[in-house]
């Protein structure tokens, strides 16, 4: 590119701003066709190992009462679409909770058991299982009412430069979509595939684990799993991805 071309491109980037909602595509669109097929195939997508473990935990008795299934009978029906409505504001506490947070809340308040802990295999399994029950359903998370301040905070996070490399999420995930960052093709940076099995992790991980990887990538503070900062960001990403199909458990490089 010539210098004039670059100046023009930079000006266009500045003007372009955020991607329009109807342009945003699911993360799997940016995978190779072979990986796309593998994600779709339950027998070849390793994420389903966690889904199966979660399904078993969901109805296991081993002294814990009530079990998940005693409150959520026929989960394939009763919980279909549930994951597509998270994160949401918990009416009782006024706090923003994501799917992991809601599962932990059931575990602690209703089952009177110690929390599993973020990123534990049990919580990942249950989250992957419940998320898989919404597979293909359109994401429908609200940015209105009580959710509004969280949405605004998440949006501000997404748009501000951070870290030693001084980059904002939007610069990569709106401005550079489709470009190669080393071996990766940059996607719109949405969370509809999470929890996802990443080859790099050799395991299943939550959206917050992926966010921590992007934070580290720009040499910025990694916020805690389940922190207010990442919860607000998760809400913003979900609203940004409104109406896109849920695809957890995703398969990623």
């Amino acid at each position: 590119m010539t210098a004039a071309g670059r100046a023009l491109a930079a000006a266009l980037l500045a003007l372009a701003g955020a991607a329009r909602a109807d342009e945003i595509k699911p993360g799997s669109t940016f995978l190779s066709p072979e990986m796309q097929r593998q994600q779709q195939d339950q027998s070849r997508n390793p994420g389903y190992l966690w889904v199966e473990q979660g399904e078993e935990l969901f109805s296991r008795r081993d002294g814990v009462s009530p079990t998940c299934i005693s409150c959520h009978a026929d989960p394939k029906q009763s919980l279909r679409g549930a994951a597509a409505r998270y994160p949401q504001v918990d009416a009782a506490s006024g706090k923003l909770v994501n799917l992991e947070g809601r599962i932990e809340q059931c575990r602690v308040d209703r089952q009177k058991q110690p929390a599993f802990g973020y990123e534990s295999q049990d919580l990942l399994g249950l989250t992957a299982y419940v998320a898989s029950l919404s597979k293909g359903m359109p994401l429908s998370v609200s940015a209105e009412g009580a959710a509004k301040p969280f949405y605004e905070a998440g949006k501000a996070f997404y748009e501000r430069r951070q870290g030693q490399l001084n980059l904002a999420c939007t610069q990569c995930h709106d401005g550079l979509v489709g470009q190669k960052l080393r071996g990766d093709t940059i996607s719109y940076g949405i969370g509809t595939g999470y929890p996802a099995y990443r080859l790099e992790w050799n395991g299943l991980g939550s959206l917050h684990r992926r966010l921590r990887a992007c934070s580290l990538g720009v040499r910025a503070t990694q916020f805690d799993y389940g922190s207010d900062d990442y919860l607000a960001l998760e809400l913003y990403l979900a609203v940004r991805a409104r109406d896109l199909p849920m695809e957890a458990p995703g398969l990623r490089r």
Binding site: A7, A10, A14, Q162, G163, Q164, G175, K180, T221
Partner: protein, 148 residues
């Protein structure tokens, strides 16, 4: 537009009279920083290693260089083959030190700046991404890339 950006950058630089940091001072002339940082002399070999290295410079996440044995080079920034013929050392130095001086919207990270950054991870806080010596090393390597 570009000139205006340079002018406002110069004004900002002038206003920030006493840099709070201990970073080596430099002077912007036009779109270049002609004098080597801290008077250091760059080493081409070390510069090449820094550019290819995945933890420090990590330039190849974004750029392509004429290094056939390096797989998976990025496509985010301009290719660097021939950059030494397009830009002189002063121009290269400015773009590495702080490309934001030319283009406030730039994606190119500032490799020699510690002010105005936010939420920097503790391991990288209060030090520039590259030291003055390392900037000079990388400039020496880039200047050697003369074939488009």
């Amino acid at each position: 537009m570009r000139l205006a950006a340079i002018r406002s950058a110069l004004i900002m630089l002038a206003l920030a009279s006493a840099p709070a940091s201990a970073l080596e001072a430099y002077k912007v002339v036009g779109d270049a920083i002609p004098a080597p940082l801290g008077g250091k002399i760059g080493d081409l070999k070390r510069g090449r290693a820094l550019v290819l290295d995945r933890t420090q410079g990590n330039c190849l996440i974004c750029h392509q260089v004429p290094e056939p044995n390096e797989p998976f080079q990025g496509t985010i920034g301009p290719g660097l083959a021939g950059v030494g013929a397009r830009l002189d050392t002063g121009q290269l130095r400015l773009r590495l030190i702080d490309a934001g001086l030319l283009n406030p919207q730039t994606v190119m990270p500032p490799y020699f700046r510690i002010e105005g950054l936010r939420d920097v991870a503790p391991a990288f806080r209060d030090r520039p991404a590259l030291t003055a010596q390392e900037i000079e090393d990388v400039v020496a390597y880039l200047a050697s890339l003369r074939t488009p």
